[in-house]
Every structure is written in structure tokens, then in C-alpha cells.
Symmetry: C5
Subunit: 99 residues, 5 copies
């Protein structure tokens, strides 16, 4: 799963049927200090993640496992809001929340 | 899902059966300011996206979920035309449409 | 789908059963001017693509959809020979064929 | 499979149902000398890998094959703790454990 | 499929059940001159590839198609030992074997 930070939101009126009722989050991967980095991408959210939170994102077919309609055309889903993340014994999550 | 801009079109006479009746869009990912970036790739379009629009693209097996023939050899599909996209509280979609 | 140019061929005597009868093309992605770029990779060809042609390549499980044996261990297949490809209103395919 | 080193852990209270009871490891790919490199990511652990160990990580749908619930929204799983890894006839695993 | 060179081996005592009886090869992609390049990764071998041989590697779910147990947690498999590989009309395989 990708280690990501929520950096924004997207809305759409014209979309495939399976996307109705799904909130689209804009996310970026985080680096070792917890900063958002690289290209933004989209994932559906079924657990209520908010702006700037650090989350786990599952990609590919397993992302469909959290949807009420597993045939929705979705390849990325937020599956966890992370309470803590340590990299090389440094806690990066809370440190970043304060930033 | 990838955040992309439609940058062109492709046509083909000699193709696999499952591709008949599918429009092929040429797309690129967008950066934080909404500019197309990186390598172009192809996706099928089932919702009528036009040149320069910002769209969501699903990749892999879930892309087949929007096709009438789920056994078509397709690994990318446009699933939404995006009305708005915010990254770090800056709205990038409309800004880019004017560009 | 990836936008690729056929840059060569590969042959193999010792291979998995499902690969028998499949021609292996060597391909590279193309850049905006149609030049082959990046690392070469392999795909099976079921439509008769020739050296230097610009083609569409499907990856992952959907590549198996064009095979007579969908259980073949194949993760990339040429699914279309492209007649034309436009990127930012410039036609790149024919231009490149003359090169 | 990816060649990775365990660099940390992550915890989550708010998460998709299928994730309950799964330990989340933070991992990085290793370079030829066995140092962790690149962006950190998450995988579930079903075999008891510890901090700084070199492991094999399977990604995508096959990662679900090691789970008691194959419908869990998981796209990466540690599938082996590696006793030895040689690259170009140099043993990198033990050398790195001493580092 | 990836064009790779076998650069080493890995062994494991503690591993997922589905991995028993599978030899783990360490591989790298090759560049246009056939040199191993980039990050090393692991694949199972069912055809007897040896050190320094140029091979084709299938990734993702199709890699499971060559396994006796298709539910093994495997995302990469060597599916062919390549006799010849040409890129831009230069034969790279044998040239590299002499190197």
C-alpha cells in the first residue's frame, strides 16, 4: 500500500456509473519526513479521511474490495487513516501534523 | 486513478476485436499547476471527454469494468470528466482551462 | 495502453508452455516526437505488427484477453497498429515513419 | 517480488474491515549493497518479519493469496524473510545485517 | 514482459506456504547493450534459468499462470530463456554472453 497524504479533492458531474456516491480524494505519496511528494493522483474514500491526513492507499483490483459495488471502475482506495508511522525509528506522522 | 489531461487522439484500422467501437484518447498526467507532463499514453473513452479536458483515468483490470465487453484487451479508461480539482487548496482545473 | 514503437524481436527455445506459437516483439515507449525512448520490453503480437511501427500495447491481465489461451503467462500484448496519433494537435505517427 | 528491508511500522484505528488483525510494516526497496532506498510503502506481514530484516514482498492481487480473507483490500504482503541474497556473486544480506 | 538478466539467487527458510519448492532468482532489467541496470528484484523460476542468462519475466497475476499452485503469492516468474534479442537491428544477447 502507498503511504500518502490527502492534498485535496476532486468533483465530477460526468462520470461512469460505478463512481456515483464515491468521494474522490487527491493524494500524494509522502517522503521520509512526511512531506507530500511527486504527482497527485485520485482515490476513493470510504472511511472519512480529511485534508492533510496521512493514509494508506491500496491500488489495483484489491481497491475494489472495499466498495459496495466491486465492479466499479476504481483502481485506488483509501483503506486506513494512520495513527502513527515510523521510518528508521523516527515518528513522522505527528511531526507532520504540526507542520 | 490518474489525474490526466486529454492531449490528442489515436486511430487504428488493424486492431484486436475487443477494441472495435472504442475511441482511443491520448493522455498525459498533470502536474500541480495542471500542465500535461510525462509520457503520453492511451485510454478508451466511454463518457465523451474532449481535447484539453482534465479527467480521471482508471488503469488495469478495473478499466474493463466500464466496457460493454469486459473481456476487451483494455488497461486504461477515462471514467470521469472532472469539474474541479484542488491541490493544497489551489483550484487547478478552471485555471488551466483558461490557459 | 502504452504508446510504443516496435524496435526488435526476441526468440526462445526454452519457455513456458503457454508461450508456444506467440511471436515476441521488443518494444519501447515513444516520446512526443515519436522516438523510441526508455527501456525495451517484450509483448506478444497477435495482429502482425512490423519493425518500427507505432502500436498500442495493453499490459497486465487484460493482455491475456487477446490470447487463445487466457492462462498463458503473458503480461503485455500488442492490440492495435496505429494509423495516426496526435499529441497537442501535431501528428506524430506519419512523421516518424518517414524518419 | 520486491527485495525490501523493513524500516518501520504503522498503526491505524480507522481502517477498512479487511485490515483488522493485520500488522502493517513500512518497507523500502534495497540497492545492490542492501541499503534501503527510495520511497517507503506499506505491506501486511503474516510471517513475523522484524525491523531491518531483508524480505520479499509480493504486490497486487497475488498479495491477497496469503491472507485468511482474500477479499481484504491489500496490495502488498511480506512473503519471505530472506536468509541470503546474492547480486553479482556478492552476498548482500549478512553484510547489511552487521551494518 | 520484462527483458532481464539473472544476477543472483535468494534463499529463505521462513516463507509463505505457496513458495515452497520455488527457486528464487534475483534479476535486473537490461539496457540496450544488454547490461543489467536498475534495482534488483525477485522472480520464481520454473524453467531452469542460470546466472547471467537473458530471460523474459512476466509480472502480476499472469505470473501465477506458470505455477502448479496458482494461489501462490507470486507476482513475477521467469517464462523464457531468450536465444536472441535484437534492438534496432543489433543483436544484444550473444554479445553480452561473451562480456
Amino acid at each position: 500500500m502507498k503511504l500518502c497524504r490527502v492534498v485535496g479533492f476532486a468533483t465530477s458531474s460526468i462520470k461512469a456509473k460505478g463512481l456515483a456516491n464515491h468521494k474522490l480524494l487527491v493524494l500524494k505519496d509522502i517522503d521520509d519526513t512526511g512531506n507530500a511528494t511527486g504527482e497527485a493522483f485520485l482515490a476513493v474514500d470510504t472511511i472519512g479521511a480529511g485534508l492533510s491526513e496521512v493514509v494508506a492507499v491500496t491500488t489495483g483490483v484489491p481497491a475494489c474490495h472495499v466498495l459496495s459495488d466491486p465492479q466499479a471502475p476504481v483502481d485506488a482506495a483509501v483503506i486506513a487513516i494512520l495513527d502513527s508511522v515510523s521510518i528508521n525509528k523516527k515518528e513522522i506522522h505527528n511531526q507532520l501534523k504540526e507542520a
